[in-house]
Symmetry: C2
Subunit: 343 residues, 2 copies
């Protein structure tokens, strides 16, 4: 025996709206989901009834019946990292006004946690998934490959993406920075990096390779730490670099926080930038170009990655197979400023 009494606190359902409008429930459902296939007359009646009753659809019921939700999962390795807050912004701009909404999962640079989050997201039957790396666990990767929804991998362009991908060549970007230092006449460049996730490792490898090829490699000048990146850490790392290799004449920093920190440390030590020490940053968040001296940086298209990823995802959700360019290279740009111009 169930409660028959529909208390007034219960919110109205589709059926209530249907009764009010004098149509069937399914017509109400269609008016909401695909107004195009409902006659103008019926549509007006239904819309009026919805307004009168203050009806809002129940997403849970819809998800259960249709076996899919309006959720788009976004997996990021960090929430504090400025890189991802820019990506996030691009993504949010892209879902504005659509019926989808974004749910963020933070796997804190742990592939295992990422795997758990993938599993968790998939159990919710998401409309699509955006993941921020190519470095899943084997299981995580398999989950993505067999996911019943479109998947976009972002940040990098590399072989073997699961399906769609948007990013740029991170290794070429680092090389461009290093080459710029060389072209500016620096001959003893160092490399500063925190939080050695796989991507940071690869960038370091790219730097070493370039430096080696240019005859500028010196392992004493490669300073890394597993700890998170921060402005303070940039100062520490430069300090360590200069104590190990005082004749270092430039640094390539693995992100802007480190570069700003290094610049401040140089200021503190009265080391002239760019005269005695060149600094090249990576990512180019807004702050970088307002430093004194303004920081030269490899600018990465973070926000564009976010907005492009969501655009591809939405297109593919609406119309599976319609996205022809499934691998998008957004490139990068060298922003040459004062911190490396010593001529």
């Amino acid at each position: 025996m169930a409660r028959k009494t529909k208390t007034s606190s219960d919110r109205p359902t589709l059926v209530d709206v249907a009764r009010e409008a004098g149509v069937s429930a399914i017509t109400v459902s269609r008016t909401i989901r695909s107004p195009g296939i409902v006659s103008d007359k019926a549509r007006r009646k239904v819309e009026e009834a919805i307004r009168r009753l203050g009806y809002t659809p129940d997403p849970a019921a819809s998800a259960l019946a249709s076996r899919s939700t309006s959720t788009i999962g976004l997996l990021v390795p960090s929430l504090t990292n400025n890189v991802f807050s820019d990506v996030l912004r691009g993504v949010y701009e892209g879902v504005q006004g659509t019926r989808y909404f974004v749910q963020i999962g933070n796997y804190r640079y742990s592939a295992l946690e990422e795997e758990g989050l993938i599993r968790n997201f998939l159990s919710q039957r998401p409309a699509g998934l955006i993941v921020s790396s190519m470095d899943q666990t084997p299981t995580g990767r398999r989950l993505l490959e067999t996911a019943p929804c479109p998947v976009v991998q972002i940040m990098e362009i590399a072989e073997g993406a699961v399906d769609m991908s948007v990013g740029f060549d991170q290794l070429a970007a680092v090389r461009a920075g290093a080459q710029h230092l060389q072209e500016c006449g620096y001959r003893r460049p160092g490399f500063l990096s925190a939080r050695m996730d796989p991507r940071a490792q690869r960038r370091l490898a790219a730097f070493r390779e370039f430096a080696e090829g240019a005859g500028m490699l010196d392992d004493r000048r490669i300073i890394t730490t597993p700890q998170p990146s921060s402005v303070g850490m940039g100062g520490h790392l430069l300090e360590q670099l200069l104590s190990q290799a005082p004749d270092t004449d430039a640094v390539m920093c693995n992100n802007d926080d480190l570069a700003v920190g290094a610049l401040m440390e140089a200021l503190r030590r009265h080391i002239a930038v760019p005269g005695q020490l060149g600094i090249c940053s990576y990512n180019d968040i807004e702050m970088a170009r307002h430093m004194v001296p303004a920081l030269t940086a490899v600018a990465t298209p973070r926000r564009e990655i976010g907005s492009r990823a969501i655009a591809m995802l939405l297109a593919e959700i609406d119309n599976p197979g319609s996205v022809t360019e499934r691998r998008v290279d957004l490139g990068f740009e060298m922003m040459i400023r004062e911190s490396t111009s010593r001529r």
Copy 2:
């Protein structure tokens, strides 16, 4: 006539697990939700069956049947603002390992958009809601008041919170900063602020009031812009301030981006900080204390606000009415550093 054939691609359901374990469906449900009330024997059988089948509960079905979800809605006015990324971090730390997950809504400093998001979140039957302001539209406020779930308002301590609140006295914090400038001997302080949302307005009002009381008020020194805050904007605002009132001897900045920008602009113009110009920042994100000179700042407990808010919310969800301290003042702290020490 419905599909009777259960294709192998269908994921297993509660009933499948029950059959496999030789118990009833509801026992499986209980094993998952409240293992305490199930016998050890049954629990083991069920857990084993779940593992064998690789069962994952369907959140949509659960939400529909139980009329509530595991979603916690978090409304923030901005995603790029460092303030909220710290709050976010606190919140995410707090939900780690619980069965809840956070969904973010960005209302971009628009109370109207906020209202829409409140409505949207509520339609999902969330387990709880965290909102970042006290400045809802009347309708938005009513929605929160009648929400069928706990609500925490964060960032401010003020009369008339809807229910629970966590924050600090933003006005006292600004006054403390202004007073500090006065105590350092500055007599012609200015005020820099971007993105004039209601909270920024109130802080400006608090500054004016204090300055007036101290006989230091000069409206030429109050520089604001409706545009978003950024490091670059800090530079512009200082430029404008100095052209309007060249004898200004200190600035109170409404956040760290502006303060860093102002500092850089001062450097560029060879204005000695703190000698010729004192700078006091607001919020104190990590970068502030690593500037040269290190920035004096009013430190706000952003991350603590996030973790405390989620803790209160979870406690209230588990056990309605159990949170006795429904209004928490986390205070603030003056971080006195080089940018104001001119003695």
